[in-house]
Every structure is written in structure tokens, then in C-alpha cells.
């Protein structure tokens, strides 16, 4: 432990697998997606990551499955699927 319990490894919370919280995960329909990035900015967990191809998909390591992305997607390109289902 550091003096004064100061944490010097900035952002090390990224080791924590909050994806384990999830009961539903978001699934993207690329056909519908218009790459508006609203799902990206509205994810409280920064779990929506822009891919090289410009599509945004959930990083399942972190995604808590809140479903905000599915609700606010203007073209309903995201659906929520129960974990365990394909």
C-alpha cells in the first residue's frame, strides 16, 4: 500500500470485469446502423467501442447490459438479447 493510500496507477479500474453484472447484452444490426455514435456517447460505462469499420459494438468485458443504447438508437439497430441465448 502506498503512503496515504494514494493510488498511483491511474485508471486501473479497467481491470474490473463489470460485464459479469449483465443479464442482457446488446446486439447490433449492422444493416440498420447509421454510425451516429449516440450509443457511444450515451453509454455510462464507455463500453461502446468504435470499431475500425466505424460501427459501434459493446465491449462485453465491461457492458453491464443497461440497455440505454437499445432505447436511444434512432433506427432501432440494437436489440437486447438475454445472456445464455444466441
Amino acid at each position: 500500500m502506498n503512503v496515504g493510500n494514494i493510488i498511483t496507477d491511474a485508471g486501473n479500474a479497467s481491470f474490473r470485469k463489470t460485464g459479469d453484472w449483465r443479464t442482457e447484452r446488446p446486439v447490433l444490426d449492422r444493416e440498420k446502423c447509421i454510425k451516429c455514435a449516440l450509443c457511444w456517447i450515451y453509454c455510462p460505462d464507455a463500453a461502446m467501442k468504435p470499431g475500425d469499420d466505424g460501427y459501434y459494438e459493446a465491449d462485453l468485458y465491461y457492458c453491464k447490459g443497461c440497455g440505454i443504447c437499445a432505447r436511444i438508437c434512432p433506427v432501432k439497430a440494437i436489440t437486447r438479447v438475454e445472456e445464455g441465448e444466441k
Binding site: 500500500m1 502506498n2 503512503v3 496515504g4 493510500n5 494514494i6 493510488i7 498511483t8
Partner: protein
Amino acid sequence: MSRRVALEASHAVAEAARMADVDVISAYPITPQTHIPERLAEMVAGGELNAAYIPVESEHSAMSACLGAAAIGARTYTATAGPGLEYMHNVLYVASSMRLPVVMTVVNRALSAPISIWGDHSDAMAVRDTGWIQVFCQSCQDAFDMTLWAFRVGEDRNVLFPVMVHLDGFTLSHVIEPMILPEQREVDRFLPRFQYPFPLTPDKPMTHGALGPPDIYSEAKIAQEVALRESKGVILQGWKEFGDIFGRYYHPVEEYRTENAEALLLTMGSYTETAKIVVDERRDRGEAVGLISLRLWRPFPFEEVRRTTKGSKVLIVFDRCISFGMGGPVFSEVRSALYDEDARPKIVGFVGGLGGRDVSEEDFDYVISRGRQIAEEGSDKMIETVGIR
């Protein structure tokens, strides 16, 4: 040239902070501390001292702002008294646990109720457990010297603890005494620049003040206690360096005419000077009586208390505070510290000097006589007092 001046203790303390080139002063006025922030404000306004003076709206904010300033690496100072110290009680623990060096002068004042602006040690005793390094002063010179020393020790890379310098309200804070003011270059030699090792800076982002779950908190507290105890090394080193440069050497426990003393009086703070007069009178009459004065209060000077009381038959502890339901706090702690000693004196406690009540030579004379009597015969009084009707 260092020069001999006459200064009020409050002003001496302010002068020490000025010579230490403090960066941030964050203080709230409260009797009898007011002369300190007033003098400092005057110095800043007049350009004698280049510091940020934050006129906070309460003592709680005073200490909180000190934490923020210390966390970015600024040399930080504040002062308070009595109820003001209590108002920042919550923050005191945090200052120590977060290892932020702040120097604070506490002008010892009674806690309410009834409201009293006058001096006693109830404020100091209420903050025993907060994890600060704490010392008690007896004179203007002492107060000045301890303030400089406090920066040196608290800010030391191997310490990093906040430091409280206690001065008795009115009976010391408002007293003008002759003292030696050192040269600035001597002070600069003694006091290095503050280099806080973990400053808040975008260059290396760090998190200060994280949540401590049950599986971590205990270890954090033990680490803090070990560090506080081990700061004794630097405390003593600081006093040695101080003596080497300024010629005045200080110790955790000051001994006065203790050679072959049968009975010892234990005091803290400015009333020590009065007690010494009585010791002199009794010695002149051939009585083997002496005095020890606790300068270092936290970390508790176990070694020095045990060493200086060895060989005495009676130890009479004078408290300027009642820990309600228990008695004299210094008395309790000293008894506890001596409990395991093979040959320990009979230890008797007296409470007096509350809320500005004067303790005269006659009173100390009574304390010694009555103390020796109790050591001999015992007492069925609930609490021994002096100078209280």
C-alpha cells in the same frame, strides 16, 4: 544578525510562519488565536510575506483548504483554538490519514459549555487520537522555534504527517517576552523547500482519498500508526539540527532538577514555568523534588517518560482538562505508560487551571504536598483538584 526582540507569542508564531515562507494560509479567527491570522494578513497585505491568504468561512473549511493546498505541494499553515479545533475535528483525522503535512498552531482554549474564551487543554485532549504530531510550548521562544521545527519535521519525506504546536491561550499566546529572532539565512539552512512526493498534477494523475473496504482499512491504519511512531526518529533529528543551527536544543521530555528526585511533578505547557519556581523553593529547603515537562505529546514519548521517572517514588501529574467520566487524560496516559515498569512511582493526578483559572505558586505547592500525602495514604476523593472551590 540574529537579534533579541520582545514579541507577543502570537506574533512570534506569525513571524516563524513568515520566515518559513509559507505558501498558503487558510485560517478562521477565534479568540485567543486571532492575533496570529491578523498578523499574517497584515504581513501579506504589506508585502512582507508572499502567500495566498484564504479567509475561509469556518475552521472546517480552514483545514479542508489546507488539505487541498498541501496536496498540490504548497507549504501550508493554519491556526485555531478551542471550539474551532473541534469544528475541524472530522478533517483532522483525514489530514493525518492522507499524510498531508500541514502545520497548525493551536492556542489552547476551553471547550464550551459554558462558553469560555480562556485557556485550558480540553481542546488539545479532544484531538489526541487524530494522528497528528503534537508538541506543547512554554515560552515565546519555544513557540517560535517549534513552528519552524514543525515544518521541517512534518514535511520530511520519511514523515509526511501534519503537526500541531500547542500554546496556552492568553497565558502564553498574549504574553510579550524577550526572545531571539534568527537570521533568515539560518532559517533557510534549517528548513528545506517542501517537496511533496505525490502532488496532484496532470503530469502524473493520482487518486487521493479512495474508499477503504474492510479488507484494506485495517492495514491502512496499522501502516499509519507505524509511520507515526517511526516519525520519532525525524522528530529527534529535527531537534538536533535545530540546536546545531540555532543553539537551542529541545527534547521530548524536559527535565528540571530531577537528579535524585523523590517526587516529580509532571506538567505541560506554560504553567511549567510557575511550577519550576515551586520546585526551586522546595529544593532550597532540601526537598528532593523535581519536575518533568512533556513537550512531545504525540507520538507519546514512552521511552523518555519511563527514563525520566525511574528512581522517583512519587509522580504527580497536573492536568488542565477533565476527560469526563474518566479523569485527567495526561494522568491516565502516563499511568498506562508506566504500568509495566518494574519500579514505578506512585502516580497521583490533579486537575486544575480549567477555563483560564490561574494556577499559582501556592497551588503548585499544595499539589506537591497533597500529592505526596495521597501517595502515602491514598484518597477517597473522586477527583483531586487544585484551585477549584
